[in-house]
Amino acid sequence: MTLFILRRLLALLPMLFAVTLLVFALMSLAPGDFLTPVKAQRDINPALIAELQKSFGLDRPWYEQYALWLGNVLHLDFGYSWTYKVPVAQLIAQRAPATLLLSLTSLLLAWTLAIPLAVLAAARPGGWIDRITSAAAYFALAIPEFFLALLAVWMAARTGWFPIGGLTSLDHDFLSPSSQLLDIAYHLILPTLVLGLGGVAGTLRVLRANVLDVLQAEYVTAARAKGLPEKVVLFRHVLRNALNPLLSTIGYAFAGLLSGSLLVENVMNYPGLGRLVYEAFIREDQFVVLGSVVVGCSLLIIGNLLSDLALAWSDPRVRYGR
């Protein structure tokens, strides 16, 4: 088992190398660099531009810049943001909590809504619950996330029921701690709905199919024949077995914790990593982009590893290693 984990973690290294190399090469192909806007200002001395170019290493070819960056990363130094003059790790840590919060609430929404609905829908295939949830799920899967985000912003602006973007109100600093919590919760409603709806629909479809499968199993017939109440049959015996395949999707959910909301954050003015990364990319603030790519890739690999482990734990037939 330990060997298996080690092997998976080792596989992370070549992948990170390849992905960052690709990102770096692509960014160097893009026209202009971080100093382009500075060059276009009329009262900046050329000597200062030359000095900045040298201190950023922009006067060297891109592969040399990449090698330097890689060397620093081996010492766990991910560089600093040229824009903010703050270490990249610190900058990401500054923005990550908001993104993490949003990802978790939308994941929570997806699971708490999808699980009971899926079981109820599968219990009576073709019944009214099944029909309504299926129709709603197809509808939700068909709407692109960014469009839903735009709709939500438009709705908020029209009705005034919800804040238009942000995580806190203007007077957040002056509120009591309990009102501050309420304030954040209030701001989270819309982004959570937008980000979570697709998750609800996807989980619902997968789980419904699983539950239907498990319902055919002989032990379910046995449980029913034993005279167990239907509620116990569905939620204790069927659900537990139907959940197995969903465990493997946790990995992807984990990978999306910090990067999945990039689009929604930008449309909804949400103060998380998404906006930081997007702006860094537009400004060609290289190390911030690379840092976020590294975080995203690592989360993907670790997430997949975790879901494999969870599967092994929940299903004794799955064994890794030898």
């Binding site: 202009g32 009329r42 009262d43 000597a47 200062l48 610190q90 806190t168 309420l182 003015n269 702006e279």
Partner: protein
């Protein structure tokens, strides 16, 4: 579910009514001995001023700041020796109450305002001024100010005379000395000296520190930082040690808090104002009409600031050089057109600027004939050569230069080449793209074919400044301020001398004359003499038309009506006297 629908609006109203209505208690400190008394209308303390800005501050450290957003925020809390009043364009006392200029015109003695304290109560003295200049000139900390505060690469010297007197000496006579010094935010020695010693000064006062320990960003200006939430907002509060008061001895600023929403882009910022969420917003001409419809609903007014300092122009690449492979940047026959003054003048006469103002700016602007717009009252020269719309005059000039119109209605030069060129501009600016299209139409009437190429800003700057591989360009520059700011444009050695940058020796006699004038104006302190020199620069620029100036848009500001005592400057920040602003209605 129904119940939830009821609950949400309720929750919303409950939350929005949590705003503090009670009077905010301020720290009480005695006014400094050298208090500056505002001569304006007396107001009342209280209120929250809300505005928004596209993007984020990248730092709160003046040595690091290179963008207007960061510098704007820094200017709220770090004060300087003198202020440039953008309304009068005069230099006014700031942290120095008065100054003397010695007979050599190179030695400036500043007398500091007595009794001023930093926002932590520590006294502000000459040591802070000396420390600031040491930090700026220290080679360990490359920064923009170090270049602004030197003449021909030579630094100014600074010495402390006593606790409240400093003397600055420039190596040569340096005309914009007071204006430049006016922009230098002074740093607190007692707070930043340790960072200076261990070489980490550029890392001080970064966004991370601003978020965690906002009070460490010490202030001498009207506000001090209260909190910074990345991508959300910045809250400044009244600095309880600020050195200005009204005639009744009430300390300024009147407003308790200054809240800036950080939004994604300029559109979001404009939208926030149009929906009544913010108190002030700079508006572009194409937004004025629709925003004005909401004026009564949200209680704001839109003010016309007059012409903006932004210039827009077209130029031809006159660079005679060749690229690495020996291919000329511009084909020789085209270079011959572009370097012909009559050709450029003919183009200028062929542009319908009134039409551009009407069609692109909705009448909210005016034709532009020279490098400065009327916004720069102090330096603008109205008597430059003008090229009113006159296609007949264009044809006359072109005929003199040997061009002729063929039977196919296409213009040809004397060698029979069809006159055709590609105009490059950046795709991000919609107004500019519209003007390029109108220009193309105007040129077609002269028999000239213009191809338009809309490029990414980075690509365009690369062509103009590095590869020189283009025929004509269209861009804008923000003018205004002291002529010294334009040296990189006007001087033939300059980086932004776009039609032919970085010349070793001036290519033409008129460029040599401009070089001489720009150098002369820099080395005298006498305003009328400088004005005379700079007037001539503007005249030459209009005669030779290396830049074919187009139009300048008016600038507009929207402001909520509840604010009293407003001074809107023609240039720079939306409101010049934030500290004197007050409102009879306290709740936002």
């Amino acid at each position: 579910m129904l119940r939830l629908c009821f609950l949400l609006p309720l929750l919303a109203t409950a939350l929005s009514s949590c705003t503090p209505k009670s009077k905010v208690a301020r720290e009480k400190h005695p006014l400094p001995a050298g208090v500056d008394t505002s001569k304006h209308e007396i107001g009342r303390q209280g209120g929250v001023f809300i505005d928004s800005t596209p993007g984020e501050p990248s730092t709160f450290n003046p040595l690091v700041s290179e963008d207007a957003t960061s510098s704007g925020f820094i200017g709220l809390f770090l004060d300087s020796l003198v202020h440039n009043n953008p309304v009068t364009q005069e230099v006014e006392p700031g942290l120095a109450t008065r100054w003397e200029i010695a007979a050599d015109n190179k030695t400036f003695t500043f007398h500091l305002r007595p009794g001023v304290c930093w926002s932590d109560g520590h006294p502000f003295t000459a040591d802070d001024v000396v420390f600031t200049f040491q930090a700026i000139y220290d080679p360990r900390f490359p920064n923009r100010a170090a270049f602004d505060l030197s003449v021909d690469g030579k630094k100014f010297t600074i010495e402390k005379i006593d606790d409240l007197t400093v003397r600055l000496t420039t190596p040569e006579i340096y005309a914009p000395f007071l204006e430049t010094v006016g922009g230098v935010g002074l740093l607190p020695k007692h707070e930043l000296e340790s960072a200076f010693r261990d070489g980490s000064l550029l890392k001080a006062w970064n966004v991370s520190i601003a978020q965690k320990e906002p009070r460490r960003l010490l202030a001498t200006g009207p506000f001090r930082l209260r909190s910074y939430q990345p991508a959300e907002r910045i809250v400044f509060e009244a600095n309880p040690h600020f050195w200005r008061a009204d005639t009744q001895g009430v300390r300024l600023p009147y407003v308790d808090y200054l809240v800036t929403k950080l939004v994604k882009d300029a559109n979001a910022s404009t939208l926030a104002f149009a929906t009544g969420q913010t108190d002030a917003e700079g508006l572009s001409p194409d937004n004025v009409a629709w925003i004005d419809q909401y004026a009564t609903r949200y209680g704001f007014s839109v003010f016309n600031r007059g012409p903006s300092p932004n210039t827009g122009f077209i130029w031809f690449n006159q660079n005679p050089g060749k690229d690495a492979s020996g291919k000329p940047f511009v084909p020789p026959h085209k270079l011959a057109w572009f370097t012909d003054r009559r050709f450029r003048q003919a183009i200028s006469h062929g542009i319908d600027r009134e039409g551009l103002v009407r069609g692109v700016l909705f009448g909210r602007g005016q034709p532009l004939w020279g490098p400065e717009t009327p916004a720069n009252k102090k330096w603008y020269n109205p008597n430059v050569t003008q090229y009113p719309f006159n296609p007949a005059r264009s044809m006359e000039l072109l005929t003199q230069s040997g061009f002729s119109l063929g039977p196919d209605q296409k213009l040809r030069d004397r060698l029979g080449n069809i006159v055709e060129f590609t105009l490059n501009t950046n795709q991000e600016n919609q107004l500019r793209a519209n003007m390029a299209t109108a220009f193309k139409e105007n040129m077609r009437d002269l028999g000239i074919t213009v191809n338009l190429s809309f490029l990414d800003f980075g690509t365009l700057v690369g062509k103009i400044q590095d590869s020189y591989d283009y025929e004509a360009g269209m861009l804008g520059l923000t003018g205004g301020g002291d002529p010294a700011g334009g040296i990189s444009v006007f001087s033939s050695k300059g980086r932004l001398h776009q039609w032919h940058p970085n010349q070793k020796i001036p290519a033409t006699p008129w460029e040599a004359r401009i070089d001489q004038l720009m150098s002369d104006q820099l080395h005298t302190l006498d305003y009328p003499t400088r004005k005379k020199y700079f007037d001539e620069v503007q005249k030459i620029m209009s005669d030779e038309t290396p830049y074919i100036y187009l139009v300048t848009a008016n600038a507009y500001v929207g402001l909520k009506d509840r604010w009293k005592n407003i001074r809107i400057p023609p240039l720079g920040s939306l409101v010049w006297n934030l500290d004197e602003l007050w409102t009879p209605l306290i709740t936002p």
